[in-house]
């Protein structure tokens, strides 16, 4: 917030976020329905299913919790494993800090509540390309992305929980999830460093998939980040 902004700029930032985030409604909604179906079939009541989606907002972690509760895992393990799946969000939080760190405390708290893979991926890519934007613009962009996605997450969960297994499995809703995530990162593979980082992360994620509690994901991501950063440090001319 180094310079005062015209109100039109701020409205434009919200609209950019709304526009950039809109396609993700198509992705988030089916995923939310999948969660609602799975959780209600596992025996959770509507209030419990909705509480998970509204308070946690992290599909992979919610599915992990439901699966481990079905498996009769100890409560400590259910919580620990589900939170481990979310540890990647500490990286998102760190990555967004240079852009949103100077926002007001309540804005940062709200941004933290809303932080998902989609919010992070879209914002990080936009903020990296348009680093000179003031914090107020970035905050509004971020909220523009999420303010439309969250209601679809809640609504999708509700529909899934109520409809249950009335949805035929041939819809293959689950197949949409990887497509959505790939569509987020593929356009961001701008340089050799980005491609090498992604390649290392994929190879390690597949070879370390046997590690418990999503540790393979964390190791793969760190190794990929180190490779990308190291290429950038040695060959900065490749990055420009």
């Amino acid at each position: 917030m180094t310079q005062p902004q015209k109100p039109t700029d701020q409205t434009a930032a919200i609209w950019r976020g709304l526009r950039d985030g809109a396609p993700f409604q198509l992705i988030v909604t089916p995923f939310a329905i999948v969660f609602g179906v799975v959780a209600s079939e596992a025996g959770l009541d509507l209030l419990e299913v909705m509480a998970l989606s509204i308070l946690v907002i992290a599909g992979a972690s919610q599915l992990t919790a439901v699966q481990l509760m079905i498996d009769q895992a100890p409560v400590f393990m259910v919580v620990f494993a589900s939170l481990a799946v979310n540890m990647r969000m500490a990286m998102y939080s760190a990555a967004l800090t240079p852009h949103l760190g100077s926002a007001r405390l309540w804005q940062r708290a709200l941004a933290a509540y809303m932080m998902t893979d989609h919010a992070y991926a879209l914002s990080a890519i936009t903020f990296e390309k348009e680093a000179d934007r003031p914090t107020a613009w970035k905050v509004r962009y971020y909220f523009g992305v999420m303010v439309q996605i969250l209601p679809m997450w809640y609504l999708g969960t509700y529909v899934g929980a109520v409809l249950g297994n009335a949805i035929p499995p041939s819809f293959a809703l689950d197949a949409m999830v990887p497509v959505a995530f790939i569509a987020i990162f593929a356009p961001a593979l701008r340089t050799v460093a980005h491609i090498a980082a992604a390649f290392v992360a994929i190879v390690l994620a597949l070879s370390l998939a046997w590690l418990p509690w999503s540790l393979g994901l964390i190791v793969a991501a760190f190794a990929g980040m180190i490779v990308g950063a190291e290429i950038e440090r040695r060959k900065p001319e490749l990055i420009a």
Partner: protein, 109 residues
């Protein structure tokens, strides 16, 4: 089915608080203090490492097929990757993936 003995609300509360603290961690504690260059350089690669690492196992061992490689799901992922990379567009990448899923599973079913 989840056993009635499972303290579901305890799990929900722990996940809600724990997840918020993870998300708030750096944003809340560091705020506008500048991060060192080497940290920023690594953070630039979070999106292109965390998300691929999250997706690769989902694509290669989909839960819906009992963990065996599914040509349709794999092709849909590769179509989204190629389209997204070449056209630099998330929307076209999603449409490419959806198209492969619709055609592949349509014909298969």
């Amino acid at each position: 089915m989840i056993s009635p003995d499972m303290p579901v609300w305890l799990v929900i509360a722990a996940l809600a608080i724990g997840t918020f603290l993870i998300r708030f961690s750096f944003l809340g504690l560091i705020g506008d203090r500048p991060l060192p260059d080497w940290v920023l350089r690594h953070l630039r690669y979070t999106a292109v490492t965390v998300i691929p690492a999250l997706v690769a196992p989902l694509l290669v061992w989909p839960a819906a097929t009992g963990g065996t490689l599914d040509p349709v799901r794999l092709t849909a992922g590769l179509a989204a990757l190629a389209t997204g990379y070449l056209l630099r567009s998330t929307i076209w990448a999603i449409l490419a993936g959806i198209t492969v899923i619709a055609i592949g599973l349509g014909f298969a079913g």
